[in-house]
């Protein structure tokens, strides 16, 4: 192992679900304590803490310190939409790369059970006392529902439909089949919020949220936390052989934002920044998409998973529909995608997601994934996207020991 490489030393995710009696600090503390224990280290070893809780108040990092150990290290509270967890992880990685410390901690936590529709603004006001123009667009009423929609299911439905318009073949049934796959995968994941296999009929006939996304095709709002301890290669060499054996190499850590595209002011472009991030990540890691043994990608909606097959270059450009129909992304396929069950069934406690997907990949690379183990997994990719937009891509590799 090279001294300037970065490794995941310890990592953990809580079970995702509903925790009415525990707050964000409780959940984050569980993840932190377990990630430290997994790495065989303590808070005393940490040189930096990066933390995220998108819907919470500021200062989650310091609140976590007070729960598990206050050592005076720098804390970075990060917020980057659904890429918050990946951003926290990358912040810790950058501190190590900058030589400021040799070990760091990243944590993401969210309580979302029962919050309902995300990105929804209230409806247009009826004729009030006076039509008065306000805001950036001089609007006299709330425009969501009058001028298209910015709510999450509707936005990502349009992302998938746009792909269909460009390349064809993206039918309601196809998107539902993607969801069927992820719900089937979730039956093997005891930490998923939902483990129920659903038939195609059940998925297609469930409540329609925003065509073509029915309810089970949307990410599940739930509570959860995930944390990771990262370490420099130089420091790792001084640790035990067992720690070295279980450490997972971070071969690439990339964060991008959305470059200008013609339509990005009316429909967020989740494609270009993902494609750029993937390209950078493959170059950094020196691996190609065909080397990947598993991929955890950001299926916030079934319609999103399809476009990211293409954006992550798992298939030929324009070939995502055929790629899915070939069975490639099922757990026994060529490139298993979302064997955790994905956000649609594992759940999506926003700031935790970008570390939980890394946990899933590490779990397989360590050969510790039990009944859902992808046999012989050596290389994996984790992807998140936060609208606005931010995209995190990490490529992880099994220890050579």
């Amino acid at each position: 192992m090279a001294s300037d490489d970065i490794y995941i030393l310890g990592i953990y995710m809580t079970k995702f679900g509903k925790y009415p009696d525990r707050d964000t600090v409780d959940l984050a503390a569980e993840a932190v304590m377990a990630a430290l224990a997994d790495g065989g280290v303590t808070m005393k070893d940490m040189g930096i803490l990066a933390a995220g809780c998108l819907m919470g108040q500021g200062g989650i990092g310091q609140m976590i310190q007070k729960q598990v150990g206050q050592t005076g290290i720098p804390v970075y509270n990060v917020s980057n939409a659904c890429a918050t967890g990946a951003t926290a992880l990358r912040t810790a990685i950058m501190a190590i790369k900058a030589g400021e410390c040799d070990m760091g901690l990243a944590v993401g936590v969210e309580k979302l059970a029962g919050v309902g529709l995300l990105g929804a603004s209230s409806g247009p006001k009826g004729p009030g006392k006076e039509w008065k123009a306000t805001g950036r667009y001089g609007s006299v009423a709330n425009t969501d529902g009058l001028i298209g929609t910015a709510n999450m299911p509707g936005t990502f439905a349009q992302v998938g439909m746009e792909y269909g318009h460009k390349y064809g073949g993206a039918t309601f049934e196809l998107f539902a089949k993607i969801s069927e796959k992820n719900h089937a995968h979730s039956t093997l994941n005891p930490l998923a919020a939902y483990n129920k296999r659903m038939t195609l009929d059940e998925i297609m006939n469930d409540i329609m949220i925003a065509y073509p996304n029915t309810r089970p095709m949307c990410s599940a709002n739930c509570d959860g936390a995930a944390a990771a301890v990262v370490v420099s290669g130089k420091k790792l060499k001084t640790l035990s052989l067992e720690q070295q054996r279980r450490a997972i190499k971070v071969s690439a850590s990339v964060l991008t934002s959305d470059p200008y595209q013609e339509a990005c002011q009316v429909l967020p472009d989740v494609n270009t920044l993902t494609r750029i991030a993937a390209k950078q990540a493959y170059e950094q890691a020196g691996v190609s998409p065909s080397d990947l043994n598993l991929v955890e990608l950001h299926d916030c909606f079934a319609t999103a998973e399809l476009v990211h097959y293409d954006n992550l270059m798992l298939c030929e450009e324009g070939g995502a529909v055929d790629f899915f129909n070939s069975g490639a992304t099922w757990r026994d396929g060529k490139t298993p995608v979302n064997v955790s069950g994905g956000l649609e069934s594992k759940g999506h406690p926003i700031a935790a997601t970008g570390i939980a997907n890394i946990w899933e990949v590490c779990h397989h690379l360590r050969g510790e994934a039990g009944p859902r183990q992808i046999e012989g997994a050596k290389v994996g990719l984790a992807h998140v996207i936060g609208l606005g937009s931010a995209c995190g891509v990490h490529i992880l590799e099994k220890s050579a020991l």
Binding site: S122, G123, G128, Q158, M208, I209, A210, E262
Partner: protein, 132 residues
Amino acid sequence: MTTTQVPLVDYLVLGDKPHLIANECTSCGAKFFDRRNACASCFATDFKKVEIATEGEVRSFTIVTFAAPGVPVPFVAAIINCGGTSVRANIINCDPTPEVVSLGMKVRLATYSLGNDDNGSEAIGFGFEPIK
């Protein structure tokens, strides 16, 4: 009493031929419905007002059936390619079903009343309707 009309948003121009306007970068032609200090595409700082084509085709859509309280559903939210400029709008004056609304469908701008306020001022909204 004469009724004055106000547009739902300031980039909707009312009158005999209602249309949308945008701030166009004089350097690269990128168009923005809101104000920018510099062009998001090329960073130039000069803009001029331009009219957006009132006919276009549906490049993406969704039928929203579950929304925040107060938003009437179902409605068709869409992205319309109007002569090279993408516009966000509802598809109106047709049934909100996937059998009626399709990708690539030709549409044109249409306006409708959002009602009067206490001063008798009428707000006018816009959407795109199928060209039969």
